[in-house]
Subunit: 455 residues, 2 copies
């Protein structure tokens, strides 16, 4: 890993561009061997990496062990698809020479975009950082990767980068296949703006994600940015879904000190005696939740500030006050006050929940709004079918994944994963940053017309 | 069709948004019936439409008859796919309740983006206008469409719009399913910027395409713009491909008065006695080509101006001078002078060819550059295999379709079509605006997790 300045960036990016032709034409089985090699090396080094990551991120051992397994699993998943030729999928139309006009033979298949800049997240030091989902999917697509390491876990980043680079070398791939750099904001923007960079993967805040989107859109040749940004992952609790909701909700809200992109930050319920009892239960559980240590001092300070700001908004009453970083918080507001104040839709990154109590189902519907989310959840009982049928198409407009009678934390990494939703949850809702479809972000189709056999 | 002002635009767009839920949930067979109905109605009205289009566009009858068939064919192609459920393709992962943690069932499938704004092209008054490829593919994806009619063929646009609207009504679809408007530039930009518009399809100039791209990127909620813009579709002629090249090239260059997006505007050859003879043949054929009437006065004026500007660049010698609109033109420049002057890479819309004579294969390689194209063609003989293997990966970087020993005009509309290449040929090289894959532009995935059976 290199600590670089903006003046050194060009040679790093050129090294990546030089590796692109090798990656474009390498056999799928060779590429799959590299991906499997990285997976195995990460698993082997788990006992060394996890203690370092624990120290740097304050995340617990079990979580980081699981994250390391998931990270390796992402590479193995993609290796299976690469070996099966899935990303080279070909549409073939055969020639009809005696048609008027004659039909040529045409083969359409996918090729890699080229060098990709990846910006790791602080909240997933393994699964969404140096060797995280963006890196794994871009390599699987045959794109060279330059990772800008997140400053919140530099030593973890260095260890993982060394593991990946060693595998790149051992498998005979060019050095520019994978590079990891440290640098300041000028380096970050320099990556997004460099003419040889063909795409960007980012996980982080809306502010920085939008900055990168805007910079990429203003380039002489614009490039796609896949930014996974803020999300409040709203929960809609219908009358039949109230029983037992609180007992599932608070653990999901406080999991990992609320630092998941799928954290369920806003809950909509309809006023009733049962809902009042459920709120009391949520209040009791949130007040009793253990105080966790957050990822960074900056995140911790922001959390307290934003939670307190929310509690000061008009009509908001505090149920569990946030006085310390990492402490669970809970507040309540009416549907009418929620609709009036767009600030209440903003994400509070951490274990803070806003309960919106609506006076009717119609008011709940009116609360859905238009702001995009990674996920949305609907809780309901057998008698709520008619309400679900009204609510679902509205909620579908603002989410990439809809969870029925469940909680959004704990994303299954598989071929049916959709992690990405309407803006601002993601920059482009047509793709996913997690799961088997993730490499599709880094490919473009090419058609060969009337190609000779030897091509 | 409505001539509207910016103040009336909102109600048009709201009508489209109101139609979106119907289109999202309509049965595939019902949607396919609408698409087939439009295809049949266009075919039935061909004898009425074509004379009007001939008068408005100066395109010949045979061409417009073919274009009308192609337009109907696009709807029929998509109807087949919609009937087969192709765009609703589902990834399903079944639950494993006794795994730790339990795996939920997840279904991932595609849903329409919502109301789409379509801007028709002047050069395809039927196949890329009111009921053209963008409209057909967006409807096939289940998106309501608002077409901004091209002012170059208003009466053709009105007739086609009336046909589509009548079918929308006859098949019981809401009025907002398809609307066609006339309006000024404020209306165009108002469409791109309206919060209820979820995507844009555009075919036309780089200037306007980029304007729409920039406007869409600056929205509070950015949306995708699929702009198909300029392309010079370079031809690379290797030594074994020289024989017979001129006889194929000039007809392709002058087809439809050179007003195809796939028009082959630049030819690269390697200096040799055979190449000199080929140039003489091209000169002879271009000088003898009939003068055609161009689509609009603006296009005609631009053509003469740009062709003459090219001929005045340093090192350029005129082989066939353009003095009148619609007249074929030809010029020549050395590879060295071509590389020095980026203006020579710019498209001259019309039947104007620039021959770049390189002193070696290496100079030809250096001429490829980085500017994106819809297509690129390689002409070669049996002895050129080694050169093709060097040239192909370089040319692949700048094109969406590669034609071997052929010419790019005459795009086959099929499942293997790739019409879209690196910028500035298209705004997003990962998609195609023609062929069976075109509706993929207007869809996004949603995952349902743990959904009950009745959903």
């Amino acid at each position: 890993m290199l600590e670089i300045t903006i003046s050194e960036l060009d040679s790093v990016i050129r090294r990546a561009a030089d590796a692109a032709p090798f990656l474009r034409s390498v056999e799928g089985s060779v590429l799959a061997d590299l991906l499997d090699g990285i997976a195995n090396a990460l698993t082997t080094a788990k006992a060394e990496i996890v203690p370092v990551a624990m120290r740097e991120t304050h995340l617990p051992e079990a979580r980081l062990n699981g994250e390391c397994d998931r990270t390796a699993g992402q590479f193995r998943n993609h290796a299976l698809d690469v070996r099966a030729g899935r990303f080279k999928a070909v549409d073939v139309v055969t020639a009809i020479p005696d048609r008027t006009p004659p039909r040529p033979n045409i083969s359409r298949f996918m090729i890699p975009l080229g060098p990709i800049a990846v910006f790791g997240a602080s909240n997933f030091p393994l699964a969404y950082s140096v060797a995280g989902g963006d890196t794994a999917s871009a390599l699987a697509a045959g794109c060279p990767v330059i990772v800008k390491a997140h400053p919140a876990h530099p030593e973890t980043s260095r260890m993982v980068a060394d593991i990946v680079s060693a595998q790149v070398k051992a498998h005979g791939f060019p050095e520019g296949t994978f590079q990891c750099v440290h640098g300041d904001n000028a380096v970050s923007l320099g990556l997004v703006e460099h003419p040889l960079i063909k795409g960007v993967g980012f996980t982080g805040s809306l502010r920085v994600g939008r900055l990168f989107m805007d910079a990429a859109a203003k380039r002489p040749v614009p490039i796609p940015v896949f930014a996974e940004m803020g999300s409040v992952n709203p929960m809609f609790v219908l009358p039949g879904g109230v029983a037992g909701f609180a007992e599932g909700y608070v653990p999901s809200l406080t999991l990992g000190v609320g630092q998941f992109c799928t954290n369920p930050g806003i809950v909509f319920g309809i006023d009733s005696p049962e809902w009042t009892a459920s709120k009391s239960k949520m209040q009791e559980l949130a007040a009793a939740a253990p105080v966790g240590k957050m990822l960074t001092d900056g995140i911790a300070e922001n959390y307290v500030r934003l939670a307190q700001t929310t509690c000061r908004q008009e009509g908001v009453s505090t149920l569990v006050e946030v006085t310390n970083p990492g402490q669970a918080g809970l507040a309540e507001v009416s549907g009418a006050d929620f609709i009036k104040n767009p600030h209440l839709q903003e994400e509070v990154f951490g274990p803070f929940g806003l309960i919106v109590t609506c006076k009717s189902f119609d008011e709940m519907l009116a609360c859905v709004g238009t702001q995009g989310n990674l996920s949305s959840s609907i809780h309901f009982g057998p008698d709520d079918q008619a309400l679900v049928e009204i609510l679902l198409p509205v909620v579908e407009q603002i989410a990439g994944r809809i969870v029925f009678n469940g909680f959004p934390t704990g994303v299954e990494v598989c071929e049916a994963t959709q992690h990405g939703g309407p803006y601002p949850a993601a920059s482009d809702s047509r793709f996913t940053s997690v799961g088997n479809h993730a490499p599709e972000r880094w490919l473009r189709p090419v058609a060969y017309q009337n190609a000779p056999r030897w091509v």
